[in-house]
Every structure is written in structure tokens, then in C-alpha cells.
Amino acid sequence: MPAMTMVQSLNAAIDEALAGNDKVVAFGEDVGYFGGVFGVTRGLQEKYGLDRVFDAPINEAAIVAMGMGMAVNGLRPIAEIQFADYIFPGFDQVVSELSRIRYRSAGQYTAPLVIRTPCGGGIYGGQTHSMSPEAFFTHIPGVKVAMPSNPYDAKGMLLAAVEDDDPVIFFEPKRLYNGPFDGDPHKPATSWARHPRGEVPEGAYTVPLGVGEIVRPGSEVTVVAYGTMVHVANYAAEKTGVDAEVIDLRTLVPWDVDMVTASVKKTGRCVVLHEAPRTSGFGAELAAQIQEDCFYSLEAPVLRVTGWDTPYPHAHEWSYFPGPDRVGRALKQVMEG
């Protein structure tokens, strides 16, 4: 099995999708000839032609709407929004249109569009290249929301998203594109080649949406994370010696409530993590639901470790990013509770 970066595995997924299904097209800003600013679609226009992998005007509403129109007409489009920070001009098309078309037409029309977009911080991208806006999308009935944490899942989940009959907002933590990242910026960069989930099978396979994964079994506390924070969680557990069970949620809507509640009922403690600002972040939903479902098993309140309620700063990147120290502190705190 070849070792791949997440960029390569996403590229492979789109390649598989294009090869396997005539109805698949991919487009977005700089997606065509250039292959995307992160290279996720590199080489695919040359391989599949101008009308299957193409550039789109810089108008995110247009990109979503075009994808929706195409999907309604039977295609399986994969649209790229260059950075998740730039998805908002297209937000109305997602909230008011894409998410509702099945419902409001009583199933006569459906729009299985996949919107891929790189998200998250840790790259000194400042406030307009670092956002984690996933929570907004989890509050929109009718769209699924997913975020892989490694190359293997990225390929399998993206292929599952393309097969899915519902629209999927597919967040790609760009800090993980070229290697795992445990939240410590001072360590030398590591590569996916030396990570088990950097091994990516050739050919098509799917990792089902809606199913989480216990990436680190443990007994003392459940840590619910997704994207880059999965790696931070593992590292923090290791560093603190807290016997944490780390769950990689992978899909946010619908999330794997069974896996999470079983774990929390077992450990009696829970910490939820994300990079996005705290207030009304997806951690709020997780904490609210977990305390409701597991109240009588909980020995301490569910804690959240998240980005701060400020725009993402540039110079204070590592004071903002919820790194292993802050996660470690929360693990210790929840153990004392």
C-alpha cells in the first residue's frame, strides 16, 4: 500500500470518482489547469478533460449554485471552496437551497453535491485562512458534515460523500494535508509516510459517513475530537499519562452518538475538542447531548477545549490554537472533577 499525504489521497479519491462515474465533475477556483492551490486536483484536468475538471469564477455562491443545479440534473459534482473562510458568500445557497431541496420538493429533486473545503489553523494563515466554520453547517438540517483526520479516511470518506445521496460539506484540515500534526509547532514536521493511516489502498473504497472511530482506547476519560484535534488529543493523552479514550468523530452530522455515549458511560468523564471558537461551536452540541444522554454516568462536567471567541489571530497562532498543553490541562481537570 502506498504511503500518501492527505493531499494525495484526496487527489486519488477524486481520480477514482471521475474514473468510476461519468457523472462526476470537479470544479472550483484554480481547480482546473493549476490543480487547486493545495494541489488536491492536480493533474486531473489533463487526465479527464476541460469539462470534467475546471476552473470556476471567484464567486462562491455561483460555485454552490452551479453544483446544485448540476446535481439536480443528475451529476455528482465535487465543488471546491478554496478556503473554508471563503464559503460564506455561498452560505445562503447552502442554508436556503442545497439543504432543503429534497425536503421542499418532497423528494422530487435532490442535490447530491459534495463541497470540499480546507479548514483550520496552525499554518500562520491569519483570520482569513484559518477558520473552522463547521458548526455553522451542523445547524443546517439537510446537509451532512464530515472532516477526516488522516489520508486513509480522507480518501474513503470523500468517496462515500460522492456516493451519498445528500449534500455533504467536506472539511479538510489543511494543517494535516502534508503530515500529521499533534499541536506542538516546535517539533520537526513529521510525514504521513510514517503514520499507519498514511497508508492508502489503491482503488475505490469507502469509509462510511456517520461512523466514528476509537483511535486510542482508554478507560479514564473520553475525548471527542475531529480533524487536527484528534492528533492533539492523542499527544495530550500521552503526555499527561491520562488513560484517555480518543474518539475521532469523522462525521459531525450525523455523528456517532452510540460510540460516544458508550465510551462516556464507560469512562464517566468527557472532554470535547475543536479549533473553532467556543461559543456555539460544535462542542456545545456534543457537550449538551452527552450530558443529557450520560448524565447519570458522569463524574465531572463535560469540558470543552476550543479556539477562543476571537477572530483567528496571526502572531498569536499558538496562543489561540488549542494545543496539547491546554488539552492536557483539561484532561487533568476533568480527572479531578
Binding site: G69, D92, Q108
Partner: protein, 410 residues
């Protein structure tokens, strides 16, 4: 800060308000036949004059004149006329029923029947329509069962949308009629995407969409025009300038400074102004644009020039912002009267036949209404079973919706 008197910046105002006498003297009405008809493959740059012209066929004597005369058979015209009359009767009844609270809401298309009915006639039945909320005439033209339309409007057990949508927000895949959105202009770029997928599938089907002049101020207008222009999509984009957007006259949407058709120029797309109360003109312009699309020459923007004869919806009272009965003075007349007079003028129709048909429509609508309420009403039900409220959010019901359904006990 000390303000001097007078308005600090320009705020467009219609110049005629409740109590004033309607005054359309500023509206220039070119003679019918005056505006030229370019070849269907004319480059956009060579037809910019049409953005300032007005495609008209029926002259003041109700004769069809000039290059845009689509040369339709009497039968085709009579069909169009009949559908327009039916649409108007349907609208009338629905409005009345809303007044008696059988519908939560309604929007009439009075005076704009040709906009929708002529377009439907000029397009193929399998062309895909992305309408806004005032093109019910096109759905009727495509043969949608009136009873089904009513059942939707009263959200009863037979509503094909399971009671999920406001009245008049029809969706009918069978009629290649997209789901009407309550959000303005969103469907415009979607139509372009649909049309591109049609090209992609090497299909002959094109798309057409409608927005109002008020809605054309939305960013999605620019999205649609940019997409259509860049990829040369097979789509006919209609901008219905009916002079009003709820209480705002078209000057608030940019109409003081240029025609709406002129917006097409900057996209390298033909923009045509069309007399929207002239069935033949709307037919001919739509046909020209549809041919252009079908032959993959590219998109067209049609500014359909008309007047909103009624209130915006059942939620507003136009006598609070414009002269009463202003519509009666609209220089382009009533589309039904004009087509009727044209047909009568050359002996294909008569006032009696007209009245007979109108009465039949009234009757048919009334009968259908009675049947429809037999399947339930909004107020009293029955509606679609309550558990359906939780369906179609996703293809399969996820756990959280299942829990919520169970929580409600349905």
C-alpha cells in the same frame, strides 16, 4: 454634525403615490415592429441596441407586425389565450379563498399572464423551468392538474409537497418545473448549473428561469450572469420588470439609470427588452433565445417589461404606496385583452366565445376547488401524516431525526 436641508444623496422615488393620478408619460413605447430582429447567432456585441429597444408584435390596432411576428397558427394563439384566461380565473379564486382564510397566503399574476404562458409555449415541454412565484401560468400551460395545484395551496393530504411549502411554491418534476423558492434569485444560478449539466449530458434540453426586477439586485443575479457568460450555458434568463418590488418601484433596483436588459451587455450576453403584455412578443423573444441556447450559441437575458396588476401578495395593500388602479393606465395594456382583440380582429375568436370560455374556466376552477377541499384544508386537515415532517430531510432518517420523531410520538 449639522445637517443642511435637502436630501444628502439621491434616493429614487416613483413620483406618483397614493392619491396621485397615474402618470406613465415618461415611459417611451416604441412602435410595434420597430425593434429589429437579429440573426439567432448574432454576436452579443452586435445586438446591444436591443437592450434599449422593445420587442413588440401587436400594434395598437391589434395586428401582428414586424420581424418578430412568430407566425403562430390561430389554434396556437387560442390555446395561449385560453391558458391566460384560465390562469387569471385560477388566481382570482385563490385570492378569494385566501381572503376567507382557506389559504395562508397567495400571489396573483394579474397582468403578467403572458410572461409565463407565452414562454411556456415557446419552450419545449422537457425544457427545465426554474420559476419564481409569479409564473403559475407556465405550470398551467404545461398541463398541471388544477386540483393538484389547489391541494398544494391548501396543504391538504393530497399536496404533493406534503404540506411543507407555502402556497404557490409548487414543485413538479413531471412538468419539468423546479421547486419554487421563497428566497429571491437563488434559482437563477442553479438554472445555469442545470443547463451546463444538460450540455454535459449532450442533451438537447435547455433551462429557463425567472426573477423579478427587484430580485435582480441580489448577488445571485451576478452569479448567474457570470456563470452563463463564462461557460456559454444553454439557458434563457428572464428578468420580469413589473415595475414594483412589493412597495419599491423599479428605480430602487437600478431602473432609473439604465434598462435592466442593459445589464447583459457587460457580460457579453444579448439582452433584449420585450413587451411582456404582448403574447406574441414574449413568444418570439423566448423562441429566439431558446434557439440560441439549444444551438449552443449561448445564454440570453430577456427583460420582460410589464406591470404587476395586483398587490405583491395577500400580505400587502398596494393602495398604500401607489396610485389606485395604476395598472389600468399601463401603456402596454392587458395581455389577455390584447391577444383577444388580435384574434377577434382577424376572425379567429369572438367576444362571445371569450366570455363562454371565461365562464367555463370560472366554473371549472370553482368545481375543482370544491373537489380539492374535499381532500382537506390547511386549517382543518387532513394533512400529510405528521411523521412525514421528519422525512426527506435526508435520503435516510438519521438517529437524531428518528429520536425527534419518537419524541413527538409520531
Amino acid at each position: 454634525m449639522t445637517l443642511v436641508t435637502g436630501t444628502a444623496f439621491h434616493v429614487p422615488a416613483p413620483g406618483r403615490r397614493p392619491g396621485d393620478t397615474p402618470d406613465f408619460s415618461k415611459i417611451e413605447v416604441p412602435r410595434a415592429g420597430e425593434t429589429r430582429k437579429p440573426a439567432v447567432d448574432a454576436p452579443a456585441g452586435e445586438v446591444t441596441d436591443l437592450a434599449y429597444g422593445l420587442v413588440r408584435v401587436l400594434d395598437h390596432n391589434h395586428q401582428a407586425v414586424g420581424p418578430w411576428d412568430p407566425q403562430l397558427s390561430d389554434q396556437e394563439l387560442i390555446n395561449g389565450l385560453k391558458t391566460m384566461v384560465l390562469t387569471r380565473e385560477f388566481d382570482d379564486r385563490m385570492l378569494k379563498m385566501q381572503r376567507t382564510k382557506r389559504l395562508s397566503f397567495y400571489m396573483k399574476s394579474l397582468g403578467e399572464e403572458a410572461v409565463a404562458v407565452a414562454a411556456a409555449a415557446a419552450l419545449n415541454d422537457d425544457d427545465m423551468l426554474f420559476p419564481s412565484y409569479r409564473q403559475q401560468g407556465a405550470l398551467i400551460a404545461r398541463g398541471k392538474d388544477l386540483g393538484e395545484m389547489m391541494c398544494h395551496c391548501i396543504s391538504n393530504a393530497r399536496d404533493n409537497l406534503k404540506g411543507r411549502q407555502l402556497p404557490i411554491h409548487y414543485a413538479s418534476a413531471e412538468h419539468n418545473w423546479f421547486s419554487v423558492s421563497g428566497n429571491l434569485c437563488t434559482q437563477f444560478p442553479q438554472a445555469v448549473g442545470w443547463a451546463l449539466a444538460s450540455s454535459y449530458k449532450r442533451s438537447n434540453r435547455i433551462a429557463s428561469s425567472w426573477i423579478g426586477e427587484g430580485s435582480s439586485a441580489e448577488g445571485d443575479f451576478h452569479a448567474a450572469m457570470t456563470l452563463a457568460s463564462v461557460y456559454k450555458a444553454p439557458v434563457v434568463l428572464n428578468l420580469v420588470n413589473n415595475q414594483w418590488a412589493i412597495s419599491m418601484f423599479q428605480g430602487l433596483s437600478g431602473g432609473e439609470s439604465a434598462t435592466f436588459a442593459a445589464k447583459a451587455i457587460g457580460y457579453g450576453v444579448p439582452g433584449l427588452r420585450v413587451d411582456g403584455n404582448d403574447f406574441l412578443a414574449v413568444y418570439a423573444a423566448t423562441r429566439w433565445a431558446a434557439d440560441r441556447a439549444r444551438r449552443k450559441i449561448g445564454p440570453t437575458l430577456l427583460e420582460i417589461y410589464t406591470y404587476r396588476g395586483e398587490a405583491h401578495s395577500t400580505s400587502d395593500d398596494p393602495s398604500r404606496y401607489r396610485p389606485k388602479d395604476e395598472w389600468r393606465s399601463w401603456p402596454l395594456g392587458d395581455p389577455i385583452e390584447r391577444l383577444k382583440n388580435h384574434l377577434i380582429g382577424h376572425g379567429a375568436w369572438s367576444a362571445d366565445e371569450h366570455e363562454t370560455w371565461r365562464a367555463q374556466c370560472e366554473e371549472r376552477v370553482a368545481t375543482t376547488w370544491k373537489e380539492s377541499i374535499g381532500h382537506g384544508t390547511l386549517e382543518e386537515g387532513p394533512h400529510a401524516p405528521t411523521h412525514t415532517m421528519f422525512e426527506d430531510v435526508y435520503a435516510e432518517q438519521p438517529w437524531h431525526l428518528r429520536r425527534q420523531r419518537q419524541d413527538l410520538g409520531v
